[in-house]
């Protein structure tokens, strides 16, 4: 409308422009764009890892083994997608690991009580979502830093799991459907992997093609502006925590289907950190705004690939942690070097 009412302005603006534009512009070749796309970079990293493993690690290269790696990555991937939502809004959730145990025992307990699998799963997911809402409310409305809220939340969820299960493992009533979930294959792909893929697809759509998803990123980068632009920040934040815990619960259900028993200590702090690591290795920023579903999935697969190789190579179990730690540091350094090389602003 301004142009119509004032052609003068339109004209006036253009004069300093060419210079301005060219000044801010930057020659972006195809290779440049590819190497600049962190997700593609990750994919490359994963493929290189697999190629190396294929050559160096005996028995790694079988279809069946890859299938195993993917199956093992499925629950981690789902949990990592969940935490992605929280990391995107610049939060963090340390309680994830404890929710594994909580949801696991809730699932089996309800199963034992009612004998209905759908009900049991619903209850497990419900417990997770509920817990997430609690985290979200404490963070958003009571304004307790997410780190604290969820650190406390971890202990609380952990304790609840113990109370529900009276501290012992609960054997899962046999249920073909539930057993099928872990054994079943579709076109050679495990159900769990397919499930994870579906979750990922939904998450991708939500993050990239919905008001909610766009709002999440906006809040992550600058919640003040987002709020002043009409984004319901509190709602977004709380929802993200709910999604995170809900996903953790789903991951717990998947893992429980694999062991077919309810374990109150399923997951634990290591699971929390494994999940965060998957997200970060997947290129997610801990400061909010930056992170992709695909990246996170790749991160999860990378981690499980490492686990897989450690066992295949018969590395002394005492060294697992050391190797893991080393890989994390290396991955970070490599990524840092990469972005330094590309002169990205961090």
């Amino acid at each position: 409308m301004s142009t119509s009412s004032a052609p003068a302005t339109g004209g006036s603006m253009t004069s300093p422009q060419p210079a301005a534009t060219e000044r801010r512009g930057r020659a972006a070749g195809t290779w440049d764009r590819i190497s600049r796309n962190p997700t593609l970079g990750l994919l490359a990293l994963l493929l290189v890892m697999w190629a190396l493993a294929w050559i160096l690690v005996p028995k790694f290269g079988s279809v069946d083994n890859i299938r195993t790696v993917l199956r093992q990555a499925s629950d981690l991937g789902v949990a990592a997608i969940g935490i992605l939502f929280v990391l995107l809004i610049g939060g963090i959730d340390l309680s994830v690991g404890a929710l594994y145990g909580l949801s696991s025992v809730v699932l089996v307990t309800v199963m034992i009580q009612t004998g209905s699998l759908p009900l049991a799963i619903a209850a497990a997911l419900g417990a997770g979502v509920l817990f997430g809402l609690l985290n979200g409310v404490l963070v958003q409305w009571v304004r307790i830093p997410a780190f604290i809220t969820t650190l406390g939340g971890f202990y609380i969820a952990y304790a609840l799991a113990q109370m529900i299960s009276a501290g012992s493992m609960l054997s899962m009533p046999a249920d073909d459907l539930f057993v099928g979930l872990q054994t079943g294959l579709l076109l050679g792909i495990p159900y769990l992997v397919i499930l994870a893929a579906i979750v990922a697809a939904i998450a991708w759509v939500v993050l990239n093609h919905t008001t909610f998803g766009r709002s999440v990123v906006a809040v992550g980068y600058n919640r003040v502006t987002a709020g002043l632009s009409g984004v319901r920040v509190p709602r977004i934040v709380i929802t993200c925590f709910a999604i995170c815990s809900g996903m953790a619960a789903l991951a717990a259900v998947m893992l429980t289907s694999r062991v077919q028993i309810g374990v109150p200590t399923l997951g634990g702090f290591n699971a929390t950190f494994e999940t965060i690591t998957a997200a970060v290795v997947g290129g997610t920023s801990l400061f909010g705004g930056r992170g992709t579903v695909v990246g996170v999935i790749i991160g999860a697969i990378i981690i499980r690939t490492i686990n897989n190789c450690i066992v295949l190579l018969n590395i002394p179990s005492q060294l697992y942690q050391a190797v893991m730690g080393l890989i994390i540091v290396v991955a970070l350094v490599v990524d840092a070097a990469r972005s330094r090389y590309l002169g990205e602003r961090t």
Partner: protein, 517 residues
């Protein structure tokens, strides 16, 4: 005026740079193509140019915050190559950046000596630092609690702390980057007083500004930058606004904007005795359809607080806000926005736009809920909408996908306003919409406001720029010390009258005189 040359920058070249300030590999983009600036002891040297002209970059180079790739930079006669900020500070150069360089949770004293603390042996000499700080603050003729954490100080107080720090460091060169942008007229006057004194004491002052009248008030010489090139250094006495503007934009603009009037409709926005959160006196104002209403006053007079209370960004302590006759006081901000309010906050970078997000998203953020079936956002529609807006507002960008931080201030501001233009809103509340915006962008914004009024929208504009507020507004509310001190019809509005109403020490007599009642 022929003191020794304190600083001489010749034909400085600076490429687009990365985090370390090094040129981005393989870039051929020059932020500074050929920038020169000479500063003599005992002068105030104005540096002007449109946003993106390279003023700040040049200052960063001079301040040692950035290395330079071409040209020469002599400080006190000696050529400067690689350097560090602390070394530059010891060269006697102090810069007061636009966004202040103070640590919010450190005390005034700690901030004043941050990075160059006084020591007695290995220990901090707290007593001495305190004494010097007090002294420096005193010489500014103000009183600031030395132990208060900086976060508790007002904008102008924080600026004064920085200047005090510069004085205390016995700086010979004082560089101020748009120091008046966030100051009220009153505070600006005080600042100029100070600068004049420093000049008389033989300091060299580089004064970056967008306000040409300030150039004439304070500066001895003025250097103009355009697209990273110097387009001349003029002796202020011997030049005119038009000449400067011409060298800035390469074309002529009328000094004052003439807007075509429209006849206001019925009342659409009303506040009844609103006391914003944090207190103040009850404020009652009305804004009509098709009307541009100005809200004048010193910084801290309560204008922003009132604006935020109107749009619901903050709760109100008492009183009521009415939109189209509806009481929206209890409504959450989102609900008010949906009901047709729009808000452009004063702090563009922190509140107006989301810098890392593409222009596309920044413009569409208000419309997402309406850009697709249900919760979805149809990319095509979002892109179409944004592209149209970029066209309309003639925002200068290669694509709508480039992040907002790649835009100049003026263009960022257009984005901040543009996100409210996809749909016609009823009431636009604009807080300092033209602050830190270059001349031509400023005019474009004026036209925007007019267009809004023309189609029956109502505009409430907060501005510290008196000529602007007078030329743009149909009516002007003046705020003083948290209260509406007067309502002035445009016909009665003169810079003098408005200013009188703004100043804290105005008497009732002055008011009636000013309003001409």
């Amino acid at each position: 005026m022929s003191g020794p040359v304190l600083l001489d920058a010749q034909h400085i070249q600076k490429y687009a740079y990365d985090d370390e300030g090094r040129p981005i590999r393989g870039t051929d983009v020059l932020l500074l193509a050929d920038a020169s600036l000479e500063l003599i002891a005992g002068e105030v040297h104005a540096l002007v140019g449109e946003n993106g002209a390279g003023k700040t970059t040049l200052i960063k180079v001079i301040a040692g915050a950035l290395p330079y790739e071409g040209g020469s930079l002599h400080v006190a006669g000696s050529l400067r190559g690689e350097t560090t900020i602390s070394r530059v500070r010891s060269e006697g150069i102090a810069v007061i950046w636009q966004e202040f360089s103070l640590a919010p949770h450190l005390s005034v004293v700690e901030n004043m000596f941050l990075g160059r603390e006084l020591r007695r042996g290995r220990r901090l000499d707290k007593g001495e630092m305190r004494r010097q700080a007090a002294e420096a603050i005193a010489t500014l003729g103000v009183s600031i609690d030395l132990d208060s954490t900086v976060e508790r100080l007002s904008t102008s107080q924080q600026q004064l702390v920085e200047i005090a720090r510069a004085l205390n460091e016995r700086s010979r060169i004082l560089i101020l980057d748009e120091p008046t942008a966030s100051l009220s007229r009153f505070e600006t006057e005080r600042l100029f007083e100070l600068l004049r004194r420093l000049r008389s004491e033989g300091l060299g002052v580089i004064f970056v500004t967008h306000r040409l009248d300030e150039v004439f008030t304070i500066s001895d010489r003025v250097s103009i930058l355009k697209d990273g090139r110097s387009t001349g250094t003029l002796v202020t006495r011997a030049t005119t606004k038009d000449e400067i503007v011409e060298r800035m934009v390469g074309r002529h603009l009328d000094a004052v904007y003439q807007r075509h009037r429209t006849t206001p409709g019925e009342v659409v926005l009303e506040t009844r005795n609103v006391v914003p959160a944090g207190g103040g006196a009850p404020a009652s104002i009305t804004v009509h359809r098709g009307e541009i209403v100005g809200l004048a006053g010193l910084v801290g007079a309560g204008r922003t607080e009132l604006a935020r209370a109107i749009v619901g960004a903050d709760p109100v302590e008492s009183g009521a806000v009415l939109l189209d006759g509806m009481d929206v006081t209890g409504w959450a901000m989102r609900r008010r926005l949906d009901a047709g309010m729009a808000f452009v906050p004063e702090n563009r970078k922190d509140q107006g736009v989301i810098l890392p997000l593409p222009i596309l998203r920044n413009l569409a953020i208000t419309e997402w809920p309406r850009l697709g079936p249900g919760p979805l956002v149809v990319p095509r529609r979002e892109r179409g909408m944004a592209t149209a807006l970029v066209e309309e507002l003639s925002i200068v960008a290669r694509t709508v996908d480039q992040p907002a931080f790649t835009l100049s201030g003026g263009n960022q501001q257009r984005v901040a306003i543009g996100k409210w233009l996809a749909r016609d809103r009823v009431v636009y509340v604009l807080d300092e919409p033209t602050r830190g915006v270059d001349v031509s962008a400023r005019y474009a914004l004026y036209e925007l406001m007019e267009a809004i009024a023309a189609r029956g929208g109502a505009v409430l504009m907060i501005s510290s720029d008196l000529p602007e507020i007078i030329s743009m507004s149909d009516r002007i509310y003046v705020m003083r010390l948290g209260t509406i001190s007067a309502e002035v019809a445009r016909v009665d509005a003169t810079e003098q009258s408005i200013l009188t109403l703004m100043l804290p020490d105005t008497t009732a007599a002055d008011v009636s005189a000013a309003v001409g009642a």
